[in-house]
Assembly symmetry: C2
Homo-oligomer: 356 residues x 2
């Protein structure tokens, strides 16, 4: 014979704390059936006010807490959202989580995180282990060909892609306006009178980096500035690559009068290199970045950059996900782009330009 339920207490007395209180205990204590108790506790179905009171009393007295496993087995809902992240830098990471957790919490949802997923295969695997644990998943992937990524992803639950710049049918997508941000920054430099603007690229295949490069090119073109491809320097988002790029820049002639790095870290590396060489920033060469990482405002000169509201992106992801979860069938594909904000500090040479 199989396992037998073993309940040493059957009356309306307080159960031993070592054993979990179930809905049946509440039923017994209140004198109603489990069905009625369930209805009261979930606010489903019609119940007499008097009954509601009695059941609530019993539940409170016994300190009843529904077993979530049983509940989700029955409803096939977990009230949990998953978050898949690459192994990225701290600040970015915590901001997304913050935004996601905050919003999820306010909707009665929990957040299951899983990091260190860089390849489509790893993401697919992580997604598999999340099956049944979550009602929806937000995925953040650094790979630029997200189409392939999503192609063989199990799609049993709602998915939202964050900053993947993928255009896959049926999957919600939230992107950062890298192109627009880079465009605005480039335009800003042009406005300040800079003409030979170099650009330090992101890693090969990185979607963010490529979109930023695109914005930079577009701005130059729209301004009628003949663009010199030799001004596009290689980089990999690491500080050191910005340093090297700046060193290289110094050997060019005519020397560029501005350097736009695809992210802040590289911009900081570039500034170090320029200072070492005795080149003044921003007087001789303006330097700007992208991301607005915390350090940006502390370095000298304070870095002009492009800010992205990461927490807001996370919050929006949760809302999209919850909508998809709640309206499985009539959920229409979401595809949004988040605006960026130009942060003008000192390194772009805005003060010098005004003085001219």
């Amino acid at each position: 014979m199989p396992r037998v339920r073993n309940h040493p207490f059957a009356g309306p007395l307080t159960p031993p704390s070592s054993m979990a209180v179930t809905i049946r205990d509440v039923a017994r204590a209140s004198g109603f059936s489990v069905a009625t108790v369930s209805r009261v506790l979930n606010g489903s179905g019609p119940v007499k006010p008097e009954t509601v009171r009695k059941v609530r009393d019993a539940a409170t007295r016994l300190r009843f807490t529904p077993n979530v496993a049983a509940r989700s087995l029955s409803t096939s809902r977990t009230h949990t959202l998953g978050v898949l992240l690459p192994d990225l830098h701290g600040e970015f990471f915590s901001e997304v989580i913050r935004g996601i957790d905050q919003t999820a919490q306010s909707h009665g949802y929990h957040v299951l995180v899983s990091s260190s997923h860089n390849s489509p295969a790893e993401i697919a695997a992580a997604l598999a282990t999340m099956r049944g644990r979550v009602d929806g998943v937000a995925i953040m992937s650094p790979v630029s060909n997200a189409e392939a990524l999503v192609a063989d992803l199990p799609r049993s639950i709602p998915l939202v892609l964050l900053n993947c710049s993928a255009d896959v049918a049926g999957v919600d997508t939230l992107d950062i306006d890298n192109h627009g941000g880079a465009y605005a920054m480039t335009r800003h430099l042009l406005t300040l009178g800079r003409r030979r603007i170099a650009f330090v690229r992101g890693p090969k295949g990185n979607a963010d980096g490529e979109a930023r490069l695109g914005g930079y090119r577009a701005a130059l073109e729209d301004a009628g500035v003949v663009h010199d491809r030799t001004l596009e320097l290689d980089g990999d988002f690491q500080e050191l690559s910005g340093y090297h790029a700046a060193k290289h820049l110094l050997s060019m002639s005519p020397r560029p009068d501005a350097l736009f790095a695809a992210n802040d870290s590289m911009a900081i590396g570039a500034i170090s290199a320029l200072r070492e060489a005795g080149v003044r920033v921003p007087e001789d060469v303006a330097v700007v970045g992208f991301d607005d990482i915390p350090i940006a405002r502390y370095i000298l000169p304070a870095l002009s950059t492009v800010r992205v509201d990461i927490a807001k992106l996370g919050a929006r992801a949760v809302k999209v996900l919850l909508h998809a979860v709640g309206h499985r069938n009539e959920h229409t594909r979401v595809r949004e782009t988040f605006a960026t904000e130009l942060v003008v500090r000192a390194s772009c040479g805005v003060e010098q330009a005004v003085g001219r």
Copy 2:
């Protein structure tokens, strides 16, 4: 009549992707019973090798994924660990999570995070909503009287307190050696010849701040330096409070020759204030901090500080939790303190001292 199971396919054919594959489908497809399938998939009980192969094949073919809700309802294990955090600064946050997630993942566990819990009441509430979702919880609380916190915490599952400096019976505790770190740093300053060392405190009631203050005092006392309580300045871990503290310091006479801030942010604020006043750091006043936040190495002069390996703390927390989960009854209380590391850069004046 209640809900009826609706399975349109009964043979060994591939099921429609819209419907979840259950262990029964695998049983049917492989020609064995669900019990045998379960045994194979869990490696429990004796099974003929041939059978193992056949069952595995069927499971793979059907892309079977166990329903975790059903599994945990049956085993009362979720294979998930919870993490409760206060609303703290990004870097710290992400490091803990990183350490926890990495270790949990390598043990087949998932991580459920929940942030923004500052009061004991909020923590208790968050813990309640996690009941049944997790097998254990790591709690990080900023309140210094953690005893009270834990007192009325439901203890149905294993708990580990991170950096709470609480000494509560039955609860595992992992602490950072704030006292030792501050002691070492103070000693370091004394060794470099500094004698009037001021200290900027943390927020009132913050355990970290108080322990650091304690280490500072102990080092002075052990060195036989008469301690002047007016050298202990108020602070709240924010950069601005470090700025104000340094301004105040400038008005003292004789002026201190060193400033030890209870965290890096305040140290950075202090450096700004000193530079504004034309005071040289570290020649006139050495400035040091605690935490080793990323910015620390970038400011000028590079900040000497005390480093804490947060990720390691998180990793250890997971191990302790898993042990408690696996050995419910014979788990002996864990109480550990994590060593800190002195990071000597330029702001403590080590170079000047050598030259003397």
